[in-house]
């Protein structure tokens, strides 16, 4: 037997052994997953979850009779103390006339029985007709396009800075285009030189 066939014979033994060794490391040395390790949840979170139901990342959308699309999304909705409150709410309105209205607020109280939602806390309304309005409270009905902001409203638009006692977004004539109505004591300041951005 010359050296070549002896070497092949030895390899025939060594190579499978190495393969076997490699294969065994797959099972013996791998990280074992401890099924009993607890999922990282704060104690308070667990208590909250137990006390009242909670939905994270809710999304709610509907259409009004005149064809405007209303959609609400929020970080989380909780059903605490008898009312449904949502946090960091974003409401998007796609009006039949083609304009888009975005409303953001820190908090929203949803009352399904009256089909209304009340947004509070730094409410910002921006419309695709370049109107930006801020107020601190705003109620919107979910059935038809009827958004009211009873308190002080400040805003700016293509025609300048606007302050008003209250604001309403609704379609004046049924099915007609939606109107942004500033009421009780409107004040507008238009600066001719300021170039519109």
């Amino acid at each position: 037997m010359d050296w070549y066939s002896r070497m092949v014979a030895w390899l025939k033994v060594l190579l499978p052994l190495m393969a076997l060794g490699l294969l065994s490391t797959l099972f013996l040395l791998s990280r074992n997953i401890d099924p009993t390790a607890s999922i990282p949840f704060a104690e308070k979170d667990v208590q909250d979850r137990l006390r009242d139901q909670q939905i994270t990342g809710p999304f709610f959308s509907g259409a009004t009779s005149s064809g405007d699309l209303i959609s609400f999304s929020a970080d989380k909705v909780g059903r605490g103390a008898g009312k449904t409150t949502a946090e960091n709410v974003v409401a998007k309105l796609d009006l039949a006339g083609g304009t888009k209205v975005n409303i953001t607020a820190n908090q929203a109280d949803l009352s399904m029985s009256e089909q209304t939602v009340t947004l509070t806390g730094d409410v910002k309304i921006t419309t695709s007709t370049l109107y930006k309005v801020t107020t601190n409270r705003l109620t919107s009905s979910l059935g038809q396009l009827d958004i009211k902001s009873p308190d002080e409203v400040q805003g700016s638009g293509p025609i300048g800075q606007i302050t008003a006692g209250s604001l309403q977004i609704s379609a004046v004539k049924d099915g007609g285009p939606a109107q942004l109505i500033f009421t009780n004591a409107v004040k507008l300041i238009y600066d001719p030189q300021k170039k519109r951005e």
Partner: protein
């Protein structure tokens, strides 16, 4: 032809900010037109223009306001001159107010009526045309 009359005391700088106060402002979200309704008062510098209803006319691509159309009985006061008419178009950039519809202008004791009056705020003059009738009250009674 028409009579040229001095109107308002001082030359007005028409680049001052314009202030509009009203009871209601409704902005049509489809076309974007803005209408002030309910004892509207437009003010710039010395000039005060009050009307029942004012429609905002935009420049191209929302670059700003081209003019304000005041209707429903308009009174214009600038300095100690006053004028009344049915309708007024106030062009902010050029600083001209065109008043039409039975214009009545009072200056101190005398009064002028005409069909149409265009006031130039920049150099404080007014040009009245269309059946101008003046009542000069010499006031020696």
């Amino acid at each position: 032809q028409g009579t040229n009359v001095a109107f308002g005391t001082i030359r007005q700088d028409t680049s001052q900010p314009v202030e509009v106060t009203a009871d209601n402002l409704s902005v049509d979200q489809a076309s974007g037109t803005a209408v002030f309704v309910g004892n509207v008062l437009i003010g710039q510098g010395e000039m005060r223009l009050s009307a029942a209803r004012v429609k905002v006319v935009y420049k191209a691509q929302n670059e700003g306001i081209a003019s304000l159309e005041a209707t429903g009985g308009v009174t214009l006061v600038s300095g100690q001159d006053a004028a009344e008419a049915e309708r007024a178009d106030y062009n902010i950039d050029s600083g001209t107010i065109v008043m039409t519809g039975s214009v009545l202008m009072t200056q101190g004791a005398s009064a002028l009526t005409a069909e149409r009056m265009s006031v130039d705020l920049k150099d404080g003059t007014a040009k009245m045309s269309g059946r101008v009738k003046t009542i000069l009250n010499t006031g020696n009674n």
